[in-house]
Symmetry: C2
Subunit: 524 residues, 2 copies
């Protein structure tokens, strides 16, 4: 039994802080600090507060008790790179180029041999925050391109500790190099060499490093009285799962639960640091994840709670994310908002917090969440588009979701044991072939049917009325859509991380093959 005495004291603390704070609100939130905590493959159902029966996230549950819960928050794509590019640009991946046209409706991302990355033409959040005097740091996984021209410091961040890729490997450094870990613009080592991950035991101290990096950065900015943007994006819940010694084997959930516990602990440590430095009342913190939990097998995947399927799919399990906003003294404790929101809204929300104007020379999909978070004003007209690669698969408006295309994954892949919807079989809604529903979309009422099991019959008045509204939204969306230059069409082994910046100093440069571009293949 875990007794959460702390929650009570901190709830009281938050309340008192709230009372004390009101008078000074105008001044001290002039340039609030912004922290976005983006988890990797963590599912909506992985948090205690979102219903995981293990209830092993006391710090996140406390964060929710002190902050506000967003149960209707989404990513922009059910896979990491496009989701992260959408967060950084406030734009759908179809606009910022994080998709492929090689195949229809396939999820692409940025593996080591990807030629593309975040285009220079895109304006990233830290670039804009820079204008308002913010100092920005990314800690953890970037995934917006492997080649140096795509790296964080080229696109607005002042500091970086982490890697351009997931921690896949170990590789032999002949066919494939081990992924480099960067400090700012130069590598400081490679995964499995200088930054060990024991794939057998699941032990690695990476998350502890990421926690420490966060504390150092926060303390330095507080000391310098500089407003900051921290993008904290550890990847311990992405397979191969890892956690540090103190957490290995401590979860009732096994290998996946250990890193959940460690990340939860990290969230608690970071929030506590804000309190200690007395900048909690001036720091907006948003916790979420990049896509739904992978549900391929028992030991490496998380939980999407009551939602259908998971990562890679545009069912709710693939795209609905756990989300908590926290800002003592500004956000009323213990609230819930059913405002529809997406990771792209974090772009616009952060800009509004910093007092920076949103770009006007392009379509920005994000909208500010502040009216909902601070003033209880819910915009009922918000829309969520569910994309898979170059295809708009589904749309949510209000409590209704219309599937224009349905696909889980192919029967060939299933035969190989890859199943994004383990144990689920909803006839018609789950299809093993890409199925075009455009002429008669499948309509779901997510309030009554969050698990997407009962489509509304298309002869009903409800269907006709709702689809009229949704179809108009879709028509408008498609009419105004100017797709960006697709970044996931070309691959080349030569662009892998053979000789990253800084490799000479470490004697870590490797010889790669000659350039020989080929079209990337995307199975999902």
């Amino acid at each position: 039994m875990e007794v959460n005495f702390g929650a009570v004291f901190f709830t009281i603390y938050a309340l008192l802080a709230s009372c004390m704070y009101d008078g000074a609100a105008g001044k001290s939130t002039d340039k609030p600090n912004i922290i976005i905590m983006l988890m990797d493959d963590m599912g909506w159902g992985d948090l205690g507060i979102f219903g995981h029966p293990a209830k092993e996230t006391p710090n996140l549950d406390k964060m929710a008790a002190e902050g506000i819960l967003l149960p209707d928050f989404y990513t922009a794509n059910p896979l990491c790179s496009p989701s992260r590019a959408a967060l950084m640009t406030g734009r759908l991946p179809i606009r910022n180029g994080f998709y492929t046209t090689n195949q229809h409706a396939r999820n692409g991302y940025t593996p080591q041999d990807i030629v593309g990355g975040i285009p220079d033409s895109e304006v990233l959040l830290p670039e804009l925050l820079n204008k308002a005097g913010y100092r920005s740091k990314i800690i953890g996984k970037w995934h917006l391109g492997q080649q140096p021209q795509f790296h964080p410091l080229i696109h607005g961040f002042d500091e970086w500790f982490g890697a351009p890729n997931c921690h896949f490997g170990p590789y032999n450094n002949k066919n494939t190099p081990n992924i480099p870990v960067y400090k700012d613009a130069e590598m400081v080592g490679r995964y499995y060499e200088d930054f060990p991950i024991d794939k057998k035991t699941g032990e690695s101290n990476l998350t502890q490093i990421y926690i420490k990096e966060a504390l150092i950065f926060i303390e330095a900015q507080q000391k310098a009285d500089t407003p900051f943007f921290l993008y904290w994006t550890p990847d311990a819940t992405h397979a191969p799962l890892y956690s540090s010694k103190d957490f290995v084997g401590t979860s009732q959930r096994g290998r996946y639960g250990d890193p959940v516990r460690e990340l939860d602990s990290g969230v608690g440590i970071i929030l506590q640091k804000l309190r200690e430095l007395k900048i909690d009342n001036n720091t907006f913190v948003l916790f979420t994840s990049d896509n739904g939990a992978a549900t391929y097998n028992r030991d490496s995947g998380g939980s999407n709670g009551p939602f259908l399927c998971g990562k890679e799919t545009t069912y709710e399990g693939g795209m609905r994310e756990p989300a908590i906003a926290w800002w003592p003294g500004k956000i009323n404790p213990g609230g819930v908002t059913h405002q529809l929101g997406t990771v792209m809204d974090l772009f616009t929300t952060a800009l509004e917090l910093a007092g920076v104007e949103s770009p006007t020379d392009r379509i920005i999909d994000g909208k500010s969440l502040l009216p909902a978070l601070l003033n209880n004003k819910v915009d009922p007209d918000r829309v969520v588009f569910y994309y898979r690669g170059n295809e708009m698969m589904a749309v949510r408006h209000g409590l209704y979701k219309a599937h224009y295309w349905t696909w889980t994954n192919s029967l060939q892949e299933r035969a190989r044991g890859v199943n994004f919807c383990q144990g689920e079989n909803v006839t018609d809604i789950m299809t093993h072939e890409q199925t075009n529903r455009t002429l008669s979309p499948l309509l779901i009422h997510l309030g009554k049917d969050p698990g997407e099991r009962y489509p509304i019959a298309n002869h009903t008045q409800e269907y006709k009325t709702v689809m009229k509204t949704i179809q108009a939204i879709v028509d408008d969306h498609k009419t105004n859509m100017i797709p960006g230059d697709p970044q996931f069409n070309w691959c080349d082994s030569a662009v892998m991380n053979w000789s990253p910046p800084g490799c000479e100093k470490l004697n870590k440069c490797l010889k790669g093959p000659a350039s020989k571009p080929y079209k990337c293949t995307w199975p999902h």
Copy 2:
């Protein structure tokens, strides 16, 4: 957006109350009041605190914040009558007779034509509490037998407002009588006649009556300084769903969510009354449900969260229940206990609270939850047996669950549209025929795999070690099992509620058919 200011103030209140209370603990908890709130067909996943995305249970969520959550709490049977008989007797239905031997592993209950009911030989909780000076009342559904000899006042309750059956109907009073509603030993009307339920709109004020009855009873006992046991068991979440005017159409979850909201509101009102009367520190309240949510269709069923299947089955969705214990000043606020528990434990827990000895002349399956709830002491050796009718289908010990028999429902029933596992299809684990696994039970690690999708291979050391322990438990259980006289074997239209006690005064007596007993048929 709903902002839950109240939770904070009450958390503070509870904390202060706790501080002030300590000194007087010995005296004022001498005979604490006991309230068991038993919902009907409400699922584990229906509460906000247990992860429902609609988050429409602010009062229950607050109750959890002030009390302790039991995520590993179970019923004794996935259907109402046996579950309720188990709660009242502290004994498995196989012992107290609430099962059938007409067919193997079929769920029986107490429809109107059932001949059997709770045997006189069973000792019920209110009978025992009587000895300690408690006054007991049941408000709502009884379901321990239709004939007068089985009614609550014959078995220890001092007061009753409610019915012996679910609110099925309306009937024509020729083939089947409408169900009578009782005040104590006599009927005061019938459903659909004197107690209307509009099946078209779902409107009925029954829950409001049940709330009011609770308040009147509580106030009277407080005034008389009499310790009380209130068994509050409204049935609004059992199909046909109903809610009162103020709640109809208010939930984003539709027809099912409206009564959830009303019951949640009722819980809040009752707890608030305890506070107002200043007996909250002397009242132990336990909220739970009688079985998993029905998941047959979109509009009439609740949510079992991440768990497999629902009502009628022995998968987790059928038997794991939402549970919250609340006792300001005694139970530390905001806690979670992973103590395995069942509704039968409420029998033993209540007796311990009242200082009454548990019967020693029979096997009592319940164990006190007080060490876990009050003192953080978890007993790791607790066992949960999952029965369906006369068969032990599964066993849980620690985080492991072994399925000895598996069955969802028959293919014939599925063909008729009855499906207890809508949208789910876990090969092997879900079987459409009763499948005997006794020689090699399916073993699940519920920590890693709460959705029961990945049985542990039976050649592994883990399987062998765990099954050795579980098999010894099962052997012991079966060796010591003396089944009770089965109550669900005989049915007879003559025993229906034609002329219940009190019908003469109301001119509500009906003429039933002559007695013609037949063997009951149980399809599930």
